[in-house]
Symmetry: C2
Subunit: 420 residues, 2 copies
Amino acid sequence: MTARKRTSSVTNSENPLPPPKKTTIASADDFHLAPPKLGVIFVISSLLCSLYLYLLCFHYNVDSELKRPILINAGLSLVGFFVTLKLIPVAARYVLRRNMFGFDINKRGTPQGDVKVPESLGIAVGIVFLIVAIIFQFFNFTEDSLWLVEYNAALASICFMILLGFVDDVLDVPWRVKLLLPSFATLPLLMAYAGHTTIVIPKPLVSYFGLEILDLGRIYKLYMALLAVFCTNSINIHAGLNGLEIGQTVVIAAAILVHNVMQIGASVDTEFRQAHAFSIYLTQPLMATSLAMLAYNWYPSAVFVGDTYTVFAGMTMAVAGILGHFSETLLIFFLPQVLNFLLSLPQLAGIVKCPRHRLPKFDPATGLLTGTKDGTLVNVYLRIFGRKSEKSLCIHLLVFQALACAFCFLLRHFLAGWYK
Amino acid sequence: MTARKRTSSVTNSENPLPPPKKTTIASADDFHLAPPKLGVIFVISSLLCSLYLYLLCFHYNVDSELKRPILINAGLSLVGFFVTLKLIPVAARYVLRRNMFGFDINKRGTPQGDVKVPESLGIAVGIVFLIVAIIFQFFNFTEDSLWLVEYNAALASICFMILLGFVDDVLDVPWRVKLLLPSFATLPLLMAYAGHTTIVIPKPLVSYFGLEILDLGRIYKLYMALLAVFCTNSINIHAGLNGLEIGQTVVIAAAILVHNVMQIGASVDTEFRQAHAFSIYLTQPLMATSLAMLAYNWYPSAVFVGDTYTVFAGMTMAVAGILGHFSETLLIFFLPQVLNFLLSLPQLAGIVKCPRHRLPKFDPATGLLTGTKDGTLVNVYLRIFGRKSEKSLCIHLLVFQALACAFCFLLRHFLAGWYK
């Protein structure tokens, strides 16, 4: 309500676009989003959530004082799922009006490649997540709860990250600045972090160090900050296929949930269990709201998620790992992202030339993708296992992500007792 | 770094605009912002801050344990001032590239009315504010500090409000939705609020109520939520002149600072003084970053602030008032906004027709503004006191704001003892 003529929604009428060549959508107002792929989401969520729900409700005897808030949180997350499902078509109309759209490069040369796909819909997911996470406090925490400090710091960090991600999507911040943004967003969490700052020295190394537990103090906080920066950026650069950004997030989120419930089930230490419950409170809403957007983002994508989503998802999982005190485990869940980061290092560091996009080459005739020489996991996978369609490649990479998580559980199982 | 061709920065080249009629700026890249009006800012900040600094440093004997963090916060705010001053020209180029600009309606018909003015620069102020407020924790709070809960909740609320304000600026949310956004943003604060929920019954009314202190419990929280919604929206609708949005904010912020330091000076209760110091920690960075943007936003505006700024400023002051426990005083500082709200009610409620903009009428020949029949303080002031230039009207309204704050101090002085 300020003293100016807004140009946002009237851009089209004031600056008429040249006649569209082949674009399917003429204007934002007669725009209709493809319906959500609920069948796919049903299959994916059954695969991902069934083990977690089984462990929580039947396998372990989680006492009701802890189970009640987890189930309330799950209920709120379910509401968040449906709200996100309803909100995305509305938000898609708004972002299109602001000319926030992209063309799908992996479909260039086909009619689908000329469709304007609404961009940065992660903002809808982020806002619903925040509202669910905030309202949940009402049901769980009393005002003098010790957890409230860390919970609010977590919310401040995640919210700041969403804000910076959305600013990046809108204003297109240079990527070297972008890499640094998570370190600002992680500050509230670091300041409020009151948990342990010790690491347990692996047993085979105890004789070399001379102690079993090492208190890192402020250095531990630096480690936390680096972890948050890594998680956030690593989701952002392992991307480029329809559904891959959200797909990897929901797979890792499912692994986090299973890990948390296993730890809760195996322990009797109240504080330890609280830390893992805390992690669940953040991961369940992430899972639910992400699945809702995946219904629109699965191949062929009707909406794009934007950096808003990738940085939000990365930061939320980092926070869940830090406050649940299982950051080493989290890093093994992130194995494909670590691989992708290592493969990307030469280009990120500027040793090898880095183009604007590092995507595979799409052949419109066959509809298959071929790996290029750019150092990403997507390209290397294609170079090793041959040409694939976008959808099948995405599924392969998600299965690989799930295998990395399974490997992590195996590793924990076999090393338990010997390693720590 | 995702699978699409970004359209943000390439819009101009892909969809060539029709030849600009008389626009002064051809493209975002050869854009140069008018230099900041540092002389004006020097005068305004001397007028506003001198009393506060005198009271803090000389008049009252504030003990060093409280003075030290206040001065550290002031130092950080000063750094924030210079960072904002440097950041705004950069951010202005970025928002212009995204076609986020407006034309100054109060200059329509003059060459200045055809200049594209970068919009929503409040985002730069908001981000610098958040970083200053976050870094400050490092110098003040220990990890087990009781204040940390409320401070982080305050940060989460303000951050969420900036996010929603920026989303509104970018996507142009319908105004009825907009009115509700602050109630979501205020939730983290309400959840974490651990302060008193009692009100002191005014002495003349004690005999009617039969008690001196009334505990409102949850109703008090509802009152806090309504206060935040009111402050946020009332700054947003008392706008429309170059410099008015920031001007009113810095005047009120100065009053808040003076009030806080007077309360600290007059009391010996540690918790009471802490609450007011807390309020200072939020208000000083708001003051400093706002003054930096005012250097660009003062008449004639080189940048516009956007809803991002107005909602951020309103929410920050509401939070400062709530956590400093002086919400009634805050409402008297907001007297012009209350008047403007009451004048606007018929149009906001839909009883009287409400146009898109409710601005005075500008006469390009004389350069003067004439009041229209729309119910805003700006129009009513012009109808009562006659036609004025935009700059002089803004100064008049800011003086009126300062008088309202002075009136509040007088009222407190005379009613003290009798009323409460």
